[in-house]
């Protein structure tokens, strides 16, 4: 009898469609439940230490004087607070300049990626001119070339654009334009366009819409979800990129955060350095908290990998 009652209650909270490895019958064996629950507790504590720990340490170090961090790095409560450090990241390090550079690079790369990917996918999926299969094959082919192959020749290309002889190095264009050559973007947007109902296109054509009108007023508004996914990926990739912007943006005035931060190390006090690292982490963490469901649903990620 004792077993029956919680059995019914827990069945309500656990619809059979969502059941996992452990069955309800297992769950009601005390030994199993105890060990599973303690396993979960250990996992949660472990994740708190490993996942959150370093970030909390950084947050603490960002308002702790250097001497404190050096003498007792693992002290839970610092001897003194120095909130001025956060102010100094702006007044001394001028972190906002590099932050704005990162933002500009992200915006430009995003525009370039979305423009290339949507127009190409539209041409290849909807307009389908002769030879588009070969073109699509050439795009797919670049996905199998590891990025390391491109590093050196791409650098020489932005150093002196062939045919037109323009030097892109030390301008944002050197980051913006190569970002557009993403086969991954074209492929997932094309696959999305492929699945849009053709009847709507035909109806629009009957109503007299030309290819531009069809693209701008029908296809683009219908593909907001996939454009959103590609946009988030584009911004994250820009935020993470280090080697390429380091190579093509040598002048300080253009460098993004990721390039500037390693050069700061050693040049300034440790406390101010760690405060700068903390400020640089704030924005991505804020983005993550806002778009948490999109990141964690894994739908976009696993879809991309399975494809």
């Amino acid at each position: 009898m004792k077993l029956q009652l919680p059995f019914r209650n827990s069945r309500k909270s656990l619809p059979s469609a969502q059941r996992g490895i452990i069955s309800l019958a297992d769950w009601h064996k005390r030994r199993i439940r105890w060990s599973v629950q303690s396993l979960h507790a250990v996992t949660l504590i472990g994740l708190l230490i490993v996942g959150l720990g370093p970030i909390l340490w950084l947050a603490k170090a960002a308002i702790t004087p250097t001497q404190d961090t050096l003498r007792q790095p693992m002290a839970l409560w610092p001897n003194g607070f120095n909130l001025d450090l956060l102010v100094q990241t702006f007044t001394k390090v001028h972190i906002e300049r590099y932050f704005m550079n990162t933002v500009w690079i992200a915006i430009g790369s995003w525009i370039c990626q979305i423009t290339v990917a949507t127009t190409a996918a539209y041409a290849l999926s909807v307009l389908r001119p002769r030879g588009s299969r070969i073109l699509y094959g050439m795009i797919l082919g670049t996905m199998f070339v590891p990025s390391v192959v491109l590093l050196v020749p791409l650098y020489l290309t932005v150093l002196n654009l062939p045919l037109v002889n323009i030097k892109l190095v030390d301008t944002f264009w050197a980051v913006w334009l190569p970002a557009g050559a993403s086969a991954f973007n074209v492929v997932i947007i094309k696959r999305f366009f492929d699945n849009l109902p053709r009847e709507i296109f035909e109806a629009a054509q009957v109503d007299g819409a030309g290819p531009f009108r069809l693209f701008w007023s029908i296809v683009l508004p219908m593909s907001r979800p996939i454009v959103g996914v590609v946009s988030v990926f584009a911004v994250i990739a820009t935020w993470k990129d280090y080697l390429w912007p380091k190579l093509v943006l040598p002048s300080l005035a253009l460098q993004p955060l990721s390039v500037r931060l390693p050069d700061l190390e050693g040049g300034i006090q440790l406390d101010l350095f760690l405060a700068s690292l903390a400020v640089a982490t704030l924005f991505p963490i804020a983005l993550f908290l806002i778009f948490q469901r999109m990141f964690l649903s894994g739908g976009a990620l696993s879809g991309a990998i399975k494809g």
Binding site: R19, G20, L52, V116, T281
Partner: protein
């Protein structure tokens, strides 16, 4: 019947025979306009550099003097460089360590996390948090943790139990594992999220059926869960291997390839050949290494999929 069919064939005949003028005025020009960004951007920044890397690998190019053809000299130079073998050994060592540290952890975590009934979102948010930290920030932060003195963050923890101080990044034997631990920390969350999604696709009826046959929890994991995850496990494995073969930011910022070249990976060597201060400007040699690495990865991936083709398709 025949009179009805006539206009159709006539129309299609007209469509076939339309001239250049109608093609341009109808939709040819607009199609071309839509293809233009693709052709320009991919042509300049993808297709052309790929071809160029082949050309560069048989040229002597250093930006100062005009390029000269040198045949396979670049490959010979690189193969004779003792650092080339060392960098390959280092990269394989890195990949193996990353496999040992990094491959089982996300799987075990995902299986445990998928069975939680409360705070599910909290678990995955915590696991994903390191992925959100920009890689450069993560590397620089861990560099502070790895500080060698007795007051380094890790050394002060170990000091409490009487171990150390350890020269994490200064010791040739410790440097690579230290780099791998940092890289694993930065990446495991992403894999956990992929596995969690894959675990949702296991049909619950299979667990019911396994229970009817009297399977224990571990047996259910062994005979139901893991076989269903096989496809995604094979793909994450090859993706991880391809990614570790091209590792750069972590060793570059943590150790700069040192101490005594113990963490010089293949990509670091390419960087040194092309952009380093001492070697520098040897673009042909750098292209030669890149191509060899790409060829190896291509063959490796093909063999991998050929070997695993029978396991990953059946489910």
């Amino acid at each position: 019947m025949s009179s009805r069919a006539e206009p159709v064939t006539a129309a299609s005949g007209v469509r076939k025979r339309r001239g250049l003028l109608t093609w341009v005025s109808r939709d040819g020009l607009s199609t071309f306009a839509f293809l233009l960004p693709l052709l320009l951007i991919f042509g300049t920044f993808s297709w052309f550099p790929i071809v160029r890397s082949f050309v560069m690998s048989v040229q002597h190019t250093n930006l100062v003097s005009p390029p000269t053809w040198v045949g396979l000299d670049n490959f010979a130079t690189v193969l004779a460089d003792p650092l080339f073998g060392k960098s390959i050994a280092n990269t394989i060592y890195f990949a193996l360590l990353a496999l040992i540290f990094g491959y089982p952890i996300p799987l075990v975590l995902a299986v445990i996390m998928s069975e939680t009934r409360r705070f599910k979102g909290l678990y995955s948010a915590l696991a994903y948090l390191p992925v959100v930290v920009p890689p450069v920030v993560a590397v620089l932060l861990w560099k502070v943790f790895y500080k060698g003195g007795p007051n380094g963050a890790f050394n002060s923890i170990l000091g409490n139990v009487g171990i150390g101080p350890i020269q994490w990044l200064g010791d040739a034997a410790m440097a690579m594992p230290a780099v791998v631990v940092e890289a694993t920390w930065a990446a495991f969350g992403g894999t956990v999220i992929i596995y969690l999604a894959a675990l949702l696709s296991v049909p619950p009826e299979l667990y019911d059926a396994a229970e009817v046959d009297g399977a224990s929890i571990l047996q259910k994991i062994r005979y139901v869960t893991l076989p269903h995850m096989r496809g995604i496990l094979f793909i994450t494995l090859i993706l991880q291997l391809i990614a570790t073969a091209q590792i750069f930011t972590e060793p570059f910022l943590l150790t700069e390839g040192g101490p005594a070249n113990a963490t010089t990976t293949v990509l670091l060597l390419i960087y040194q050949y092309a952009f380093g201060s001492s070697l520098g400007g040897h673009f042909g040699e750098a292209a030669a290494i890149s191509l060899m690495l790409a060829a190896f990865l291509g063959v490796f991936t093909a063999v991998y999929f050929w070997l695993t083709r029978s396991w990953s398709t059946e489910s």
